[in-house]
Symmetry: C2
Subunit: 140 residues, 2 copies
DNA sequence: CGGAATCCCACCTGATACTG
DNA sequence: CAGTATCAGGTGGGATTCCG
C-alpha cells in the first residue's frame, strides 16, 4: 500500500540535511518558520480537514460529520485559520436555508501531498511505534 | 511541483483515505493513528529534536543548547516520548560526571524525510501564506 | 443551517529549586 | 552533568446556549 503515487514527482534523493545542518538549522531563523508551519499543520484538526477537502468542496455540516470527533467550535476555528492562510476558500450562498461551502485552494491541495507522506509514514511504521511503546512501558 | 486541479474529482491515487475518517471503520483506527502521529510530530519540540539528532548523537546539555528556547523540563519530556516511541535511543554511560547520549534510531531518521517534505513545502509556500494572511487580516 | 458567545477545566508549559 | 519535584499561569478544546 506504500506505492509511490504515479503523479508524485518528488525526487527521492531529497537532502536530509535540510533540517539538522547549516541549510536549515535550529539556530537558524528558518527554524522559526518550520515551527510555525508545524504548529499550523500539526494542530489537532487542520490536516484532517485539509485531507477530507482534497476530494472536493464540502458544506459545514458535511465536514462536521466527516472529521470524526471534532467539535463545532474547533471546526469553525480550524476553517477560519485555514481560510486566513489561503488554504481553504469559503463560499457563502445567500439562500434559505443558508449554505456555505468550503473548498481547498490550489495551495491547500498542494499541502495535501506532504501531509499524505506523513500519513503514509505513520501507516507504515505504526506497528514499530506501538511495539516500541509496549516494550518501553513494560520495561519500567 | 505536482499540479492538481483544485476541485477535481479525479480519483486519488494517493491513499488519502487515511487522513479523513470516512473511509475508515467506525472506530477509525487509522484516523486515530494519524492523529496521534501528528500530535507527536506537531508538538512544539519533537521535530526540532529529531532534526538536530539527524546529524548524530548528542548529549543532554548539547541538545539543550541546540534546540533554542526549550526548557529543561520539556527537553526531558520530549526525549522520553521519542524514546518511548522508538524514535530516539538513550544511552547512559555510568561515569563521573555522568554522560547520557541521545541518538536517532533508524525509525527516527526515517521520520525525518516526510517532515522535511513538510518543511520544504513550508519554505516554498511561505510567501503565499503570509500574503494570504495579510490580505485576510486587512479585509476584516 | 452555520455559526458566535459563554463557561469551564484539563493539560501544556515555563520558572524555580533541589538531587545523585 | 543530567535530571526530578513543585508550583503557577496560560491556553486548547469540549459542552452548552443563543442567534440570523
Amino acid at each position: 500500500m506504500a506505492q509511490v503515487p504515479p503523479h508524485s514527482r518528488i525526487p527521492l534523493d531529497l537532502p536530509l540535511d535540510h533540517v539538522g545542518s547549516d541549510a536549515c538549522s535550529v539556530d537558524n531563523p528558518a527554524s522559526g518558520m518550520i515551527r510555525e508551519i508545524l504548529a499550523r499543520v500539526g494542530d489537532k484538526w487542520s490536516m484532517l480537514v485539509i485531507g477530507v477537502l482534497h476530494d472536493g468542496p464540502l458544506r459545514f455540516t458535511q465536514l462536521h460529520r466527516k472529521v470524526d470527533g471534532i467539535s463545532q467550535r474547533m471546526l469553525t476555528q480550524t476553517l477560519r485559520n485555514l481560510e486566513r492562510d489561503g488554504l481553504v476558500q469559503r463560499t457563502s450562498y445567500p439562500e434559505i436555508p443558508p449554505r456555505v461551502e468550503y473548498a481547498a485552494t490550489p495551495l491547500g491541495t498542494s499541502l495535501s501531498e506532504p501531509v499524505i507522506r506523513l500519513a503514509l509514514w505513520a501507516a507504515e511504521h505504526q506497528g514499530e511505534i506501538l511495539a516500541a511503546r509496549e516494550a518501553f512501558d513494560e520495561a519500567e
